[in-house]
Amino acid sequence: MARDDVKTGYKLIGTRPNRPDGLDKVTGRARYGADFSLPGMLWAAVVRSPHAHARIVKIDASKALALEGVKAVVTRADLPTGLTGEDLNLQDNTLAGDRALYDGHAVAAVAATSQLLAQDAARLIEVEYEVLPHVTDVDAAIAPDAPVIRPGVADYSVPEGMHGNVARYMEFGHGDVEAGFAAADVVREHTYRTEATHQGYIEPHAAVGQLGEDGRGEMWVCTQGHWYIRRMSAAVLGIEAANLRVTPSEIGGGFGGKTTIFMEPLTLALSKKAGGRPVKLVMSRSEVLRATGPTASASMDVKIGMKKDGTITAGQVYFRMQGGAFPGMSPIGEALPCAFACYDIPALKHEGIEIITNRPKAAAYRAPGSPMAAFAVESMIDELCRELNLDPIEVRLKNGAKNGSKSSYGPVYDVIGLQETLQAARAHPNYSIPLGPNQGRGVASGFWFNHGGETSVSLAIGEDGTATVSVGTPDIGGSRASIGLMVAEHLGIPYENVRVNVVETGALGVNEPTHGSRATFASGKAAIEAANQAIREMCRRAAAEWGIEPEAVEWRDGAAHPAGPNAGKHPPMTIGEIGAKMGSTGGPISGHHEVTAGGYGASFGTHVVDVEVDPETGRTTVLRYLVVQDAGTAIHPAYVEGQYQGGAAQGIGWALNEEYIYGPDGRLQNPVFLDYRIPVASDLPMIDTVIIEVPNPGHPYGVRGVGETGITPPLPAIASAIAGATGVRIRSLPCSPPKVLAAIKAAKG
């Protein structure tokens, strides 16, 4: 799609150079959270509740403290009191107060001179519990007989008469849904469920913290956002943010789960109690699964009306989501707006409630709420398409949102690329490959808002004409490479001459984490503005030397050039020449930009999947998988494709086998990767990708965030493909073999 206002013909943008962190990562040199150590460092271990819900009667650490080499034990009594709101929730989750609220809830922590000693000491800490009634299922939690876990949890939004476990209520919509349903030829209504899944990042949470008696401290931590870690840790411990310096490590995956704190403040609390010695804490995989944020589980009622020609006349949803034992953590506020975001429908009604259960405090997970919403709505649209014998892409083209459509959640879309993804999916060879016996094809579209957020970036010109960029967004998906490409393009210098560093909290203004698919968009946008500032200064230096006005100098191809007829004839002054003498022409040259970045454009995608289901075992094999998604402009196409493939892989896992399984005792049954079944490499085909580029007018190079949309369509697309292969519709994820086989057998009668 040609647009006058968007630049094309880039030299570097759209190329695929090596990522700057690549060699370190493949050789093992990259320093992740657990790789950091300091002299005199202690190791920590955490005592966790084995009960889903229990009053903590007594904690006796005397036997642990009697061990040679045990230096400190902390319990809730060591943390400050008087916190409120989310700060209190964070503190309650860091160390339980009077009650343990879920299996795995931290109750005490110990620091000792070795990791084994700390683990031995943790086993010696005696905790007396009084077990309380619990509930872990989202629907069971609002049954009349369900125990009220946290009396008074409801906020102002909850109507009177709702169950005591309801924390929040939301409602919005437009148009007359009853008239819409009356105008439809077919109206269907079903309930869909998704189980909680974990982000499954390979690197467990790890931190080294040091806090002296003077209240000044440091932390080295694996995180998506170290300013968040600083603010939250400072709040939990009652120290000032400025007195905590936080440095991020390389990060082995986050997917939203590392945008908050879980155990990080414990390293500081233990350090302070141990006389300021640094304390290291590395979670085991079981701790990660039991006690860090998975995403919500959901139970969702959907009603949609469709005409025989595929026109959708009205839609209505009621979502119930639980985000664990703390309010505010279920993504109900994102799931509802995402539900119909791909469509332009005259009448819509959205309602939803957040429910409290005895599960770990949920955290963000890649497009929080959108995959569940898509599973419900896109599954039902597929059901209607099959019932009315309509092509699922045609129906989406017919009803899909376009430029200028008023979105389902209110704002009007500016320039979006949903239609382009649908057209490309329809034209792709995968969409017309003939299917064999027991094979089926599923189609679904997906959406994510994307995000801008608080951003602060600095850029400095080196004496040799290279550029160093300091960003505050940890690089998870290749953002250093992408930001480097944009800055190099902008300055007109080689990619290799730009180094992008992720710097600590003392080096920049506050940055939000790498979340909301914002790093390449927002840090990139700020880096371009910082480069503009440096370019203006370099032009001034050249102008001063040439004795002309700065306005008579233009910057291109990495050099200042005299511009216009009156500027005189001067040979171009390169960035290297300007850098070499900047000390004597006015001092260091740098640029800085800080902004709460707006103008982020939504990213839409459409997926097509073919599966084969073994009718005798219910086992699903993914035969081929296509992701088509709008990237705005793909700065580094390889990493855009990587995001598309990664999102699809996680979505496939969620659709097929991943789930949190709780026993009747409220304990998590599968807190290891053997039984929490994320896909292994051989489970997946090579995932085909098509990058659509409908440039985002809100970014100088047209960038849209690409990280999250890709996890959204797989859930309904897989279930729809299974429906095509077997004739049975699974409305409750995961589509695990026992469930699919039982459905096949039930359908046979």
Binding site: E616, Q669, D675, V680, P737, P738, L741, A742
Partner: protein, 288 residues
């Protein structure tokens, strides 16, 4: 913890007999070390068997069978062409355990002694009629493999006893075996149901058969009813249906996080049919 490195099975047995605390034998270590790291077991005595001469060897017996040392890892079994030719089902079961890295360490004896009803190599050993040599303070004895496991995580071995070798019988002419397991993924998983079939043909008819099922009872089980369902048949559709029915009847599983009881019963029948078909084709000399 005391770490021992005896050089004879007699010495290993003597150390084990004298141990008064928690005891573990260490061969590949792919169960024991993981359990130690997870805090599931903290042995007082850990007896490493890998210093005993011969434990890393696969030897042909005078009768034409195979004697497999207790420290022979899966990857070595898989690379042993003659063994794979004779007992493809046994080897493919072992080779399904864990990852490539785990295959470099994990052993048949360890998989057997870990006592899991879902152990992938054990149904194949049952179906093959493997014999286990047990060495104790009073000497060695040979027992059928199916007498070793007695429950989840438990074996019939007495205190002071250790497995010193596993012997596969000579492969009969026109024989073949196969092992299949069901997992929701493609690798790196644990059997929800497993089934091994070993048979010998007389012409087109099944003359002898042994069928073992995994993960459907507290131990791997050998099903005589399954064997009888196919002996004397040409493994036609009726025989396969009878085999499936017998396997479903023999399966006494529980529902757990890995699968439901109903699912396991159903899939036991499916796997029995499919494994029998592969074993039959192998016995016929067809590639499978």
């Amino acid at each position: 913890m005391r770490y021992h490195t005896p050089t004879t099975f007699q010495d290993a047995a003597a150390i084990a007999a004298a141990s008064t605390g928690t005891l573990r034998f260490l061969a590949g270590g792919t169960d024991v070390l993981v359990q130690m790291r997870a805090g599931m077991v903290q042995p007082d005595d850990l007896i490493d068997l890998k210093h005993i001469p011969g434990v890393d060897r696969i030897e042909k017996t005078p009768e034409g069978g195979w004697r497999i040392g207790v420290a022979v890892p899966g990857i070595v079994l898989g690379a042993h062409k003659e063994l794979v030719r004779d007992w493809p089902g046994v080897v493919e079961g072992m080779n399904l355990v864990g990852s490539t890295q785990v295959q470099g360490r994990a052993t048949l004896a360890g998989n057997l002694c870990n006592g899991s009803p879902a152990a992938d190599s054990v149904p194949g050993l049952f179906a093959a009629g493997a014999v286990v040599t047990v060495t104790g303070p009073k000497g060695s004895r040979d027992i059928p493999v199916e007498q070793v496991p007695v429950g989840p995580g438990r074996t019939s071995l007495a205190k002071g006893e250790v497995i010193s070798a596993i012997t596969l019988p000579p492969r009969a002419k026109n024989g073949g075996d196969a092992y299949l397991r069901f997992i929701p993924r493609t690798e790196m998983d644990i059997a929800v149901v497993g089934c091994a079939v070993n048979l010998r043909l007389d012409g087109d008819r099944v003359a002898e058969a042994r069928v073992a099922l995994g993960a459907v009872a507290p131990t791997v089980i050998l099903s005589e009813a399954c064997a009888q369902a196919i002996i004397g048949t040409t493994l036609d559709d009726a025989a396969l249906a009878a085999l499936a029915k017998a396997a479903k009847g023999a399966a006494k599983p529980i529902s757990d996080k890995r699968g439901t009881k109903e699912f396991r019963i159903e899939v036991a029948g499916v796997l029995a049919r499919r494994a029998a078909r592969i074993a039959y084709d192998r016995a016929k000399g067809m590639k499978a």
